[in-house]
Symmetry: C2
Subunit: 406 residues, 2 copies
Amino acid sequence: MKIVVLKFGGTSVGTIKKIKRVADIIVKHKKKNDKVIVISSAMSGVTNELIKKSFEISDSFSDVEHDVLVSSGEQVACSLIAGRLIHKGYKSRSWLSWQVPIITKGDHKNSRIKQINKKKIIKYLKEGGIPIITGFQGVNNENRITSLGRGGSDASAIMIAKFFKARKCIIYTDVEGVYTTDPNKLKKAKKIKEISYEEMLEMASLGAKVMQPVSIQDARLNRIDIEVKSSFTKKPGTLITKRSNIINNKIVTGISSTQNDSKITLIGVKDKPGVAAAIFKPLSKNSINVDMVVQNISANGKETDLTFTIKTEDLKKTKKIINENNNIKFRKLLFKKDVSKISVIGVGMIATPGVTFRMFQTLANKKINIQVISTSEIKISVLIDKKNIKKALIALHKEFKLHIQK
Amino acid sequence: MKIVVLKFGGTSVGTIKKIKRVADIIVKHKKKNDKVIVISSAMSGVTNELIKKSFEISDSFSDVEHDVLVSSGEQVACSLIAGRLIHKGYKSRSWLSWQVPIITKGDHKNSRIKQINKKKIIKYLKEGGIPIITGFQGVNNENRITSLGRGGSDASAIMIAKFFKARKCIIYTDVEGVYTTDPNKLKKAKKIKEISYEEMLEMASLGAKVMQPVSIQDARLNRIDIEVKSSFTKKPGTLITKRSNIINNKIVTGISSTQNDSKITLIGVKDKPGVAAAIFKPLSKNSINVDMVVQNISANGKETDLTFTIKTEDLKKTKKIINENNNIKFRKLLFKKDVSKISVIGVGMIATPGVTFRMFQTLANKKINIQVISTSEIKISVLIDKKNIKKALIALHKEFKLHIQK
């Protein structure tokens, strides 16, 4: 059974007019004779409106009832989509997560899909039906409604694709795909035709707007091709697939950058096991997200310098935590606001020597000072002054020929 | 197990502020140590908003998906009520109809409750929990969500009271109870303390605003006391109970009146079996609601005159149907717009001779002409000119001492 999974995000079903367009898209797929399974989010704005109500009821609204509350949003969207398809003469129906059922485990507001009972849906597909399944939710083993947390509808779509062994999962959203860099920061940014899971994961700062990393990782593990595209145009989107499927592998696929970062350097930290943990554990406890971490090999074998970046909004709190922490010994704390991380990402750089050099040379030519460097197999990240970010983006985008997409 | 069922209508849960007040009312009952089961409607306006959306999707929106769509409204209300009770420190949770489950039969949009599985709810009550159950809905034997049609939340409440053998069902709404007559028509109208099921059924034109007749009939058959009261005041409401429970039985309990009626008289109808059916069948088919029907015994045994009332908005259509119906023979069709039916209702009149006379004399004293008379065991209805309705209401209300309620 050749199955394609279509997932529609909140903006794609945000109005009645848009829901009608979604039904047209579904029909187009159905006419290609695929077995089509549809997953829908709630109409945009609805979930936030419901959450607002829950806060008015209680500033510590029950997690269990929160899931009952918000899951109603997908129920509405799915019934409207199914209703439209029926209107157009197709066999369709809404499937609420408890009707499938989609079994989850874990806490309310942050559950994960454990099992999907395929029997009823398979029967329905064989009868020619188009199932419209509520995204973002499931039922736990106590028969209570659960929600999957942020990006939950993507998780639903990927897991359904996994359990039904779908050849492809198409994520319809309000962007046309994944871009070489943020089009809001660089006009010359181009839509990427094909990108590997690994690159997509590394491009989290770009990718997160399109899909949550955890869903990309699930797709990678289950070898599900994802196409990200807009429900508002007919243009092709971006295919996220395994490396070996990508024919025109470029050296660098995309460039991501951050904003509003701050850098902290601890001078003269004791170079012994457990020091890094002692520093970062209290930060993690306080929900401070530490990004780049760089530690040089100590020259004298006793002391070292440790540098890391955080969001500038967390700077004050971070300094306080470190200064008040008696478990950490260091000589001096330096900090710098207004730094940005710029990363070039590409699986091609594994096989291509000299990418690091080209990146550094490009920045040097523009007289942009590199403050910190961190590399992974398929990514090179550098920390630069925030004021240079635009200049760096333009130069690197040109150097790696990202404005040319075949 | 002493159980009380509390039902809250849409206006009672219409805002967050009102939902908080509802939670306070529930707590008050819980403190009396009753086992409390709560049924809630959707927040007022929500159901209509959803139905509006469905019409925008399709002018013949699927009945099945309609039920999925609208049932989300009660889900939202119930989770918010439960969330508020949890906030206040009580053990509470929402119970969606499929979680109980509440099994229905019949068509979508108009199902009836067939069975309620009590096990889980009884267990939950014994644990001290306050279950908040979605009104207006159930699941059918295909595991699809169904809705109960107009006044469906009342039906849910009465059926739950029946299955759980509750001693009482309190209907919280936006009116303070049942009145001796419509307070909008007569300022002196008084709230009735106690009324029998039968009287309540006869007072349909008053009662329909409070409860659908079918729910009153279900309560009567199952001997469930209903209290109708406002969720906005602390005043006692109206108790609907069996005749023998009512101590201060008055001769007349209430007066109802209609507006915008028209009267049609067919002169010289053949007095033989099947004639009435031939007249009313096509009207029924065209959804024309026939109210009073009066036929005199024919003087000559061959012909008779038949009078009936309809809503004035249906007059034109009704005349057309009758005139074009070759199966009906009559000499002349007379009609009159702007008539009103006024009815005095009371179980007391069974045992009290002369009520009919007192009613007619009262109207005669005010020089109000009676056009048609129709009586039942506990109701006397007369048709009068619409312009006299206020005068008649005042006079009859006074004659039967309805302004005095002990």
